[in-house]
């Protein structure tokens, strides 16, 4: 039946059909569209896996109203990079885990991936990962955030994260006494 149609058009249809099979289109809160491998999305995000399985994926772009375009771009970027990297056995077998299961160190590319992000982008990414139920990405981002805190004094942490000190002087003194053992600089 496709014989009647032009050759170019047939090509076009096939391309679309292929896209339908292998990728999903995600739409950020500000209306930008991103394509991501369906396999990677389902493997890395419990929420997207549920949407794919439940058929609630919109071919014209699934609305993710909670996620801005910059964060979504990073999410998609992460999924694609992950799809290209060799999936490590430990990651897949992470279901056998204790509550305190030893965290598997980020791989080199994951480290680079979060290292290049600005603080704001990191903040958005960790919330996006949380929204989409992306366990591994959450681990990698939270690990990065913890790295930014290690060995720092509360003052230095506030400076790094631009957090306002909302304790009163008295409260601060109280905390200092309570946690005196934790402050190296005393």
């Amino acid at each position: 039946m496709e014989v009647d149609k032009g050759k170019g058009e047939a090509e076009e249809t096939r391309k679309v059909a292929e896209a339908d099979r292998d990728t999903v289109t995600l739409k950020s809160s500000d209306g930008k569209l991103f394509e991501v491998s369906k396999e990677a999305a389902a493997r890395l995000s419990t929420v997207l896996a549920g949407m794919i399985a439940g058929g609630s994926i919109d071919d014209n772009g699934t609305d993710l109203k909670q996620i801005g375009s910059e964060a979504l771009e990073n999410v998609v970027d992460y999924c694609n990079k992950h799809a290209n990297s060799i999936p490590s056995a430990a990651l897949i077998s992470s279901s056998i885990s204790f509550n305190t299961a030893p965290f598997k160190e980020p791989e080199e590319w994951e480290r680079k991936f979060v290292d290049r992000l600005s603080h704001d982008a990191l903040f958005d990414l960790v919330e996006a990962a949380n929204f989409l139920g992306m366990e591994r990405l959450l681990d990698v981002t939270c690990h990065k955030i913890s790295e930014m805190m290690k060995g720092k004094s509360p003052d230095q942490i506030r400076e790094v994260f631009n957090i306002k000190n909302d304790y009163t002087k008295e409260e601060l003194e109280e905390i200092r006494q309570e946690l005196a053992w934790a402050f190296y600089d005393d």
Binding site: N130, P154, K164
Partner: protein, 374 residues
Amino acid sequence: MASSSPSSSRWSDLLPDLLGRVIAHLTFPGDRARLRAVCRAWRSAARHHMPRRQFPWIVLPDGSFCTDGAFFPRVPGLPENVTCLGAGGDGWLALDRTDDVFRRTNLWDKLVDMCFLRPRPDVKHRHTYLLYNPFSGETVALPELDSVVGYIPETFEIRKVLMRSSTSPADDLLEVQLMSSCAGLHAGKGSCVLADLRVFDVAFHGDRLYGITPEEELVAIDLAEDDEGMPTVPRIRRVIRRPLADGEEDRWSFVYDDDDEQQRDDEDEAEEHDYLSAGSSNEEAEQEWDDNDVPDGVESEHLDEPSKAYMTTSRQLVVQSSSCAGGDDDEHQQLLMVRHHDQSPAFSRPYTRGVDIFKADMKQGKWVPVSTLT
């Protein structure tokens, strides 16, 4: 959240669940504590996401450890080439850094042709010792112990490392039990060695060090520092004595006794004898040891009845902190001697035949049997 305007409070608004995940990645308790001091929001979020409780770590000599049902191959930040000797206090590990490969070889690799390799008394190695706290990352070198121990044969062991105050090893006295003697150390200041003390287990009780001898006598060792911080031992005395048999001579009085300490009456000793009749069998076991050998509180006896199997008895000195309020007060701490009887039948695995627990009654100079622990 879609807005990208950098606002000062965004990080303090991080979802508590996410902050909990971040906390899970902070292994040092000090980092977790400092996080709570950052702002109110983090403090209240952290309150719900601190680990339910801090479980103890069981650290094995090769540096692996277990906690909360999980096994970890290595203590974070542990230096290379070390063997773990023990825990000195809250979170402090005593480490032995050495080129002695024998010591670092695990048991299964020592099995060659169905025979376990044994340490050799004629092969000596250099050792250096340090304290390491995996929670804060601090390290304290112990050059004093290096100089006390020096080059040692593979058979040498450090039995126990104790810290008088559990938090600040750099400022306080340490106690190290070598094979047959004890050494008091003050990191960076000096050491004093008590040779031939004949104690096989020691424990701090309050500020004083206590040890038990093969005769189950309890010895109190006063530790002090001179003006330069050098540890000294002004006095050693026996707190609990072994009851002597009729006409028996107290062979160790020259080690422990000051003349002014002879203030016990005979009635007490007779009473003691009733419930600690093991005293005389100790004597026999102890005579089998060479002068250079170590009285380590383990004795073996061959029993004719009923099982015709070896029974070994080992003893340990344990400080029990009672759970009631103010538990770290001396008044609420008890010094216990745990006597552990192991039966080793000829063709099956050894098993525990019994455990006796005694409480040190220092005023009466007696071991009092304890039936229940509170």
